[in-house]
């Protein structure tokens, strides 16, 4: 399952139309792997979409702070990834992923949903119009939660999901390497329209995380089995 790269026009009416590129990743995981898998993908994207803190100087120039990184080992997946060293950012992501996982769990046994990470720019409008949010990059991770019967299957799942995540990381890096549209580096007055300056140690592009849970389907044998078999084939 390679990421789909499509272009769609920005939804906003005012202002020049802008391309928002959309990338879709799909993973099939066991329930307890959802959080780590989501965090791995989101952190990898944000690693590439965060800079050091800007410090504007007199003549309109600015200097950039330093971004530290750290390795994270997964407990339920044979996998490790690198994230930005920012506890605030990590907390924010964990909160969003935790909510997603809870929503998935409470939706029923079928466990299908998607979590989206959208990077946007703010466009200030005059009163009485409110500011617009214009997305420029959208990452969607489709999640399919599988239920496994025994320990041996779980062990295989640990390894397979680890392999899949390695592929996803490579896919993400491929997209990042295309050097496509990025918002222009803002002046001091515009910086909050492009970057999230609320964190104390790093500065990611403005982003929002949202999620959707697919309507749970019937829990008949046929549906579950079909999905399991398709998942196995996909894995």
């Amino acid at each position: 399952s390679c990421p789909l790269s499509t272009r769609c026009c920005a939804p906003s009416g005012a202002g020049p139309a802008m391309n928002c590129r959309a990338e879709v990743l799909e993973v099939s995981v066991e329930g307890r792997q959802v959080e780590e898998a989501m965090l791995a993908v989101l952190h990898t994207v944000l690693l590439h979409r965060s800079t050091g803190k800007f410090h504007y100087k007199k003549e309109g120039t600015y200097s950039i702070g330093t971004v530290g990184t750290q390795d994270v080992d997964c407990d339920f997946i044979d996998f490790a990834y690198v994230r930005v060293s920012s506890e605030e950012l990590d907390r924010a992501l964990r909160k969003a992923v935790g909510e997603f996982k809870d929503a998935l769990r409470s939706s029923g046994s079928d466990g299908m949903g998607q979590i989206s990470l959208e990077f946007y720019q703010k466009k200030k409008s005059r009163w009485p119009f409110s500011d617009e949010c214009i997305p420029w990059e959208l990452w969607t991770i489709k999640v399919n939660v599988v239920n496994l019967a025994n320990e041996q299957e779980r062990q295989i799942c640990r390894e397979k999901v680890g392999e899949k995540l390695c592929e996803k990381i490579i896919n993400i890096v491929e997209v990042m390497n295309r050097h496509e549209y990025l918002p222009k580096m803002p002046t001091q007055s515009e910086v909050d329209n492009v970057f999230d300056t609320s964190l104390k140690d790093v500065q990611p592009y403005l982003y929002k995380i949202s999620y959707q849970i697919t309507d749970s389907l019937g829990t008949s044998v046929t549906t579950t089995m079909r999905r399991l078999i398709k998942d196995t084939l996909a894995l």
Binding site: G52, H55, V67, G68, Q70, E163, I169, H179
Partner: protein, 550 residues
């Protein structure tokens, strides 16, 4: 046009960026193979030394090695900077795992702003490198290094050499950055050919042909480029003084003596560096400093050649890698050597044709040729053909194969006297510990031989032989001591007749053997009635389900 030429300031900046980018690239790669988790802090107030706005530590020795390799030059077309990552066991066997290449091509982007865009894209590329270094197979290997193996790095500058990675290596691109003087490309070629021969095959057939050095490359650059351990411990005190090695300007010859196992005789151009003892001791703290093979040595590989020399050695690569090593079909599935105290079950589906190869090995060798034949090309069809470039092609190097007789092979003594550790197989220590009893050893008690007569058998033993090959041919056989022409062989000190006798009764296909096959079969049979009952109950649902799949 003049205005698109690079200003001298821009040129200077660009050169500086590329130089520091190269140095940081090396740091990221080596640090990712240290076997430890890396953690650096973000800092909102910029310090002057954080190149590319990333907190990447500089290990002094690594910077020193990188600068030495670059020797004041920058990556340019045809002059790439390569970081080679390899694995070395405590017995001294080594193998290349990855080559990270920082290359420059001619595609220029004249419009791009050096001080701004190029710099930021280089920063992005380093982030990508941080991410990618964790997803290649060597990462997991490096996290488990210490007791039985270490991970080494070597930096060289010049032409990329991928031949040491085995057939079917994969490449992953980290990224590219266009500059006015060319496009910088960063990629990694990594070995996937780490297939572990199934334990069954290893137990039953101890190395028949011995160890073959199947690849020997004369590195074009005479200057030494030593290997270094990645798990560098910054200690000044290096401990023992190591024996010096004699100088040699010539191509390095590697030969392996039969005892003690895997002792390499190697030469280095100049003994700047100390050569450590080949054994990694138990204490993790021992700094395995300066594992200084000349790069000629580092290119030689050991591989276990099966009986049927027609088989492309490339497919089998490192058969006896380590117990629970990387399986080619599951490159990221890693079971630590010695961790579980045994060997995990081999997955039932064939891994890149090794299963098929393994079965090939059990079939009789028709004709008794065991000379260094080049493998037939048909055998190579199973190779995962991902190695499009840089394939030196080990099949062609088979002309240089050397056969070495090993203790345990050809010797008609109970195998429990010969422990695996004595066998001069690379990575033998990782082989399964449970050694077969004498009774099951086909070398001692060959199983029933097949019905078909090989034509050679008739011709060799025309007098006084029973003629048929059924039954216990050992006893029926009257051996005539005759010396066939050309049979004298210094390397394998046995005559043609003895060889033929030894090998005319190959071990049975393991899948046909009762004791191993029967166990799982019995289990399967037991559970069948139960399963059938369940399925019968749900037959309607299953029919409907099959419908939906159509």
């Amino acid at each position: 046009a003049m205005d698109t030429d690079l200003s001298s300031q821009d040129r200077k900046d660009l050169d500086k960026f590329i130089k520091f980018f190269a140095l940081k690239t090396v740091q990221v790669i080596v640090q990712a193979r240290l076997g430890e988790k890396i953690c650096t802090r973000s800092s909102s107030s910029p310090t002057g030394s954080d190149w590319f706005n990333l907190a990447i530590k500089d290990i002094p020795e690594v910077t020193h090695e990188a600068k030495k390799a670059l020797a004041g030059q920058l990556p340019a077309v045809g002059r790439s900077m390569c970081v080679e990552i390899s694995l070395k066991t405590s017995e001294g066997d080594s193998m290349e795992l990855e080559i990270w290449c920082l290359e420059m091509n001619e595609k220029c982007d004249k419009e791009i702003k050096v001080s701004y865009t190029v710099y930021n894209r280089l920063s992005l590329l380093l982030k990508s490198l941080l991410a990618i270094t964790r997803v290649t197979p060597a990462y997991r290997l490096s996290r488990k290094q210490g007791h039985e193996y270490v991970i080494l790095y070597r930096i060289y500058f010049g032409e990329v050499q991928l031949s040491g990675l085995g057939e079917g290596f994969q490449t992953v691109r980290v990224g590219t950055v266009g500059t006015p003087v060319g496009t910088i490309t960063l990629s990694c070629a990594y070995r996937i050919n780490l297939a572990f021969m199934s334990t069954r095959q290893f137990e039953r057939t101890p190395p028949i042909m011995g160890i073959i050095i199947d690849h020997f490359v004369d590195r074009p650059y005479p200057s030494s480029s030593p290997m270094h351990p990645c798990n560098y411990r910054a200690g000044e005190d290096n401990g023992a003084v190591y024996p010096s090695v004699e100088d040699s300007q010539e191509v390095c010859t590697t030969s392996f003596s039969t005892s003690p196992p895997s002792q390499c005789v190697f030469t280095v151009t100049k003994a700047h560096f100390q050569t450590p003892p080949p054994v990694v001791t138990d204490t993790l703290k021992v700094p395995v400093m300066g594992l200084a093979f000349s790069h000629q040595l580092s290119s030689s590989r050991l591989s276990y050649q099966p009986a049927a020399l027609g088989v492309g050695s490339a497919d089998l690569g490192y058969p006896v890698l380590f117990a629970g090593g990387l399986n080619a079909a599951h490159p990221h599935q890693l079971i630590g050597p010695g961790k579980e105290g045994g060997v995990p079950p081999v997955p039932s589906q064939p891994a890149h044709g090794t299963q098929a190869d393994q079965e090939r090995m059990c079939t009789p060798v028709d004709g008794v040729h065991y000379s260094a034949a080049t493998p037939s090309s048909s055998e190579d069809t199973e190779t995962v053909s991902n190695s499009s470039e840089g394939k030196c092609g080990s099949p062609h190097d088979l002309l240089e194969t050397i056969f070495i007789r090993k203790v345990g092979a050809f010797v008609n003594k109970p195998i429990n006297q010969v422990t695996m550790a004595n066998l001069d197989i690379p990575f033998a220590m990782f082989a399964p510990k449970n050694v077969e009893l004498e009774d099951n050893d086909p070398m001692v008690n060959p199983p029933e031989s097949p019905e078909t007569e090989s034509p050679l058998q008739g011709s060799l033993h025309s007098e006084g032989s029973s003629g048929s090959s059924t039954g216990n041919t050992h006893d029926d056989f009257v051996m005539i001591d005759f010396k066939p022409a050309f049979s004298k062989d210094d390397i394998l000190p046995m005559d043609l007749g003895t060889f033929y006798r030894e090998f005319q009764n190959p071990p049975q296909l393991s899948s046909l053997s009762i004791d191993i096959g029967a166990q799982s079969m019995a289990e399967d049979l037991d559970s069948l009635p139960e399963k059938l009952a369940v399925h019968e109950k749900n037959v309607k649902e299953f029919d409907a389900f099959v419908e939906t799949l159509q």
